[in-house]
Each structure stands twice: as C-alpha cells, then as structure tokens.
C-alpha cells in the first residue's frame, strides 16, 4: 500500500483486505485540525466531528476478486458507494467496462462552480450531516493526469521475481559479482605497484579485523525488505521506467515482502526550470505486486505527464507490461481537460489529449474494450487488453 501527501491533496492506495474508507473521516478531521483546511458541521476544529471540506474526491477500484475476504464497506461496490454517499454531497458512481468481465469502478465528486472564497460555517452547515465538496473554490486550472495499469494473470516466470527466495538468490549473485569485481580491482591496483599480490578480501581492512561482519552484511542485503526491494526494482526493470537520464532527481523506495509481494513508490521532483510552476507540482509513481498464481495481480500508477521528450504514455505502458507479461490488463488515463503538458520535455510542451495518446497497439496483446467518458472537467479513457 502507498500514501502520497501533497500540500493540497492526499492519495491513499491500499492493498488486500485493508479498510481504506474507514480512515476517510479521520483523514478529513486531520486536514481540518492539523493542516488548517476549512471545515463544516462543527463550530471549532477541536470538535471531533470537524471534517475538512474536500475540493474534490476520487475513489476507484478494479472489480472484486474475493469480496468475501474484504472487511467493512469493501465487500461490494454498492456498499462502498453508500458509504461515500452518506458522507458526501453530490457524488457520482460509475462502472466502466464489461459487467461480465474485468471492469473498473469510479466514484467522483466535482467542485462546485462557486467563485466565492471559503467561508465560515452557517447554521445550515452545522445542521447538515453530509459534507459538501468543492464549496467556495474556483475550478482547478492546472494540468493533472493519472495513468493506471491494472494487470492480472501475471506470467509465472515473471512473477517469480517478486518472491523473497528468488530475490535473495539474485541479491547473493549480485553481491558475489560485486565482491569479485572489488577483489579484481584491488588486486590489479596492487599488481600495478608491486607485481602480483594475494587476493584482497573486501571485508578486511588489512589489519586482520573485519570492516563489517561478512555474514551479517550478506544476510542483511539478501533478506531485508528495503534492500531486496531495491534489488528487485533494478533487476525487473522498474527502475528504468523513469530513467535518471531523463528524470535526474527521481528516487524509488521499494520493499519486498516475505514470503512474496512487492511495493514501490517513486518520487520525481519537478525539474529546476519548472520549480514554482503551479502546473508542475512534482510527480509520483507507485507499483504493487501480488505474485501468487491464484490471485496474481500488479498495478502501476503515475501522474507523470506522458509525451514529447519525456517518455510517451505508450512507451510507459509497453515497458510496464513487459515487466509482468499479464494475461489481461486495463489502462485508465484520467486527464484534466485541455491541460496536456510535459515539464520534462523541451521545445513545444503541448502534447496530444488523452484520447489521442492511447491509440497505439500494445505488442503481443489484443484490445478488447475502448471506452471514453467525458466528465465535466476530466476525460477518462479506459482500455482493456488480453494476451494474444
């Protein structure tokens, strides 16, 4: 699972049997009390009922795999929608895709068109039980796009990479190779000064005392979740989705679970030329993998704009799909209307709108569905593919 906290928004993506929506009320309370956002339904922030008024809310999920294993309102889309409807005014719920196949659900609230500044609660607000959304804000005027790839039925060979046993072996091989390289380098260095020398142990500082305990070091690097997560990120190709040659300040935080499963977050600060630009508030990507054959699943999500001199949306999709080789996958691209731009590109920064960027075929897959939703201020493109 992952959480991304921006000054103005919070993204929470949770896996498995987590109870995501049960944290929503507390999230709104924290936004009011600790971040100082305007609230309704209470006279003071100290009131436990105080909940910040969201500008807008998105909630989405793929169709359920094992609803009976879920808890709280997460056993059905109907219950989830009721939970959100009970909390917010004016939400809309959608199902996108085949009812009798893989589909995707979305709940969305839209900002009101009111242009007045946020105001203090009145008697009507205090008497209300539902939280209004978007009240008192002008509509957004920044670029915003989210690409999500949801993959099921992963290729078993590719899925092996996300098991601890496999990753440990890769890490051991990597360590051994590095140690060999270090020994050779040290031996070559000594040989260049005084002829052939004995093999140098990189764990020895020369006075017979080990610099670190070799076994402990190897153990840590081949079992610790973050260390193995980094190894897997590099070996599976995830680290190359947004390469440092194009995104120099990108950083990935990855974790490999025991006995299997993988999560990674990537943060991509805006390039120096775009810092302070309201349209380039920094970007993220996140990956979650469940490799077990009975429920194999992987997700990739990013808000890095695709196109121009940065990697195109089609390139990102091809790259991610090649890591997992899923039997089926869906792509959703959610884009604010008329806001296409890539801060990592050079020259003309405008790129094609979402509908035009998702037209390329994906090698080795046949497209089953292509659905376009024209929302008030966002375009949503949904595509579904199966392996040929």
């Amino acid at each position: 699972s992952s959480m991304f906290v921006f000054p103005h928004k919070l993204i929470l993506k949770t896996c498995g049997t987590t109870t995501l929506l049960l944290g929503l009320q507390r999230m709104l309370h924290i936004a009011a009390v600790d971040a100082g956002f305007p609230f309704h339904n209470a006279e003071a922030a100290s009131d436990i009922r105080a909940a910040a008024t969201p500008y807008r809310v998105f909630y989405s999920r793929k169709n359920f795999l094992f609803p009976d294993k879920q808890h709280g309102p997460h056993r059905s889309w109907k219950q989830e929608v009721k939970y959100l409807d009970d909390m917010f005014e004016g939400g809309s719920a959608y199902m996108v895709g085949k009812m009798n196949g893989d589909h995707w659900y979305l709940y969305i609230t839209s900002p009101s068109q009111a242009l007045t500044p946020p105001r203090t609660p009145d008697a009507e607000d205090l008497a209300a039980t539902k939280i209004p959304t978007g009240k008192g804000y002008a509509p957004a005027s920044q670029n915003d796009e989210t690409l999500e790839i949801l993959m099921t039925d992963l290729d078993p060979e590719n899925a092996k990479q996300f098991y601890l046993s496999h990753a440990s072996a890769v890490a051991s091989d990597k360590l051994a190779a590095e140690a060999r390289d270090a020994r050779k380098k040290a031996a070559d260095s000594v040989a260049s000064l005084s002829g052939p020398a004995e093999e140098v142990d990189v764990f020895d500082n020369g006075d017979g005392e080990p610099i670190v305990d070799k076994d402990d070091a190897t153990e840590g690097l081949t079992t610790e979740g973050h260390a193995l997560g980094t190894v897997v990120s590099e070996s599976c190709g995830l680290s190359d989705v947004y390469p440092v040659s194009t995104y120099p300040d990108a950083r990935v935080d990855a974790y490999l679970f025991s006995p299997c499963g993988f999560s990674a977050n990537g943060v991509i600060p805006p390039p120096p030329s775009a810092q302070g630009d309201v349209n380039n508030a920094g970007h993220y990507f996140t990956v979650h993998v469940t490799p077990e054959p009975n429920c194999s699943f992987a997700s990739f999500e990013t808000n890095v704009p695709g196109g121009q001199s940065g990697r195109t949306t089609a390139e990102i999709i091809e790259h991610v799909v090649s890591i997992f080789r899923p039997g089926r996958f869906s792509v959703t691209l959610f884009e604010a209307k008329g806001q296409s731009a890539n801060p990592y590109g050079m020259g003309d920064k405008s790129v094609a709108p979402a509908a035009q960027r998702l037209v390329d075929p994906v090698k080795g897959y046949r497209r089953i569905d292509r659905i376009v939703h024209d929302f008030e201020d966002y375009d949503l493109i949904f595509r579904f593919y199966e392996r040929e």
Binding site: M3, P7, L10, L21, L24, Y55, T152, P269, V278
Partner: protein, 89 residues
Amino acid sequence: TFSPSEATPHLTINHDVAADLDSTNAFEGPEKLLEVWFAPSATALPPGAQPNGLKSVPADTWVGMLDMVNCKILSVLESDVVDAYLLSE
C-alpha cells in the same frame, strides 16, 4: 550527463515495522484508490491552511488514521513537493 541535485528525495525507514512483516495472509489482489483534494493546487491553499498544507502534518499524526485502514508505515520518501509513504499490506 545528469546527476542528483538537492531536490533528490530523502528516505527514512521505519525499521520497527519493516523488520518482521509476514505477507502470507495479507494479499488478496486489487487495491482500492482514494484521492482527496482539499484545494485546486498546492499554490491555491485557502486562508487559514498551514503554509505547507497537508505536508505540514507530522507522519505520527497519520499513524492513527492508517491504523483504521490496517496499514503501517514502512518508510517515507520526503521531497519538497510530495511525501511518499510506503505502507504495509
């Protein structure tokens, strides 16, 4: 040639949680995604909001909310523009 700058995010690992996780019964497939906006952009925060908005909320404060979700913080990647929390499950 590119090299990391001061803008490169900083990683903090919560070793207390990250050391002994067992995912045997944790995974069930697809995730749920919630995105809540409190203002149109990072530079359009409403009057009264902390200067850094939600990013001014300490990580410890999110723990109670994440407990309700059944997630624990494994690590945090902090940057000027966004903090990325890697969570259990």
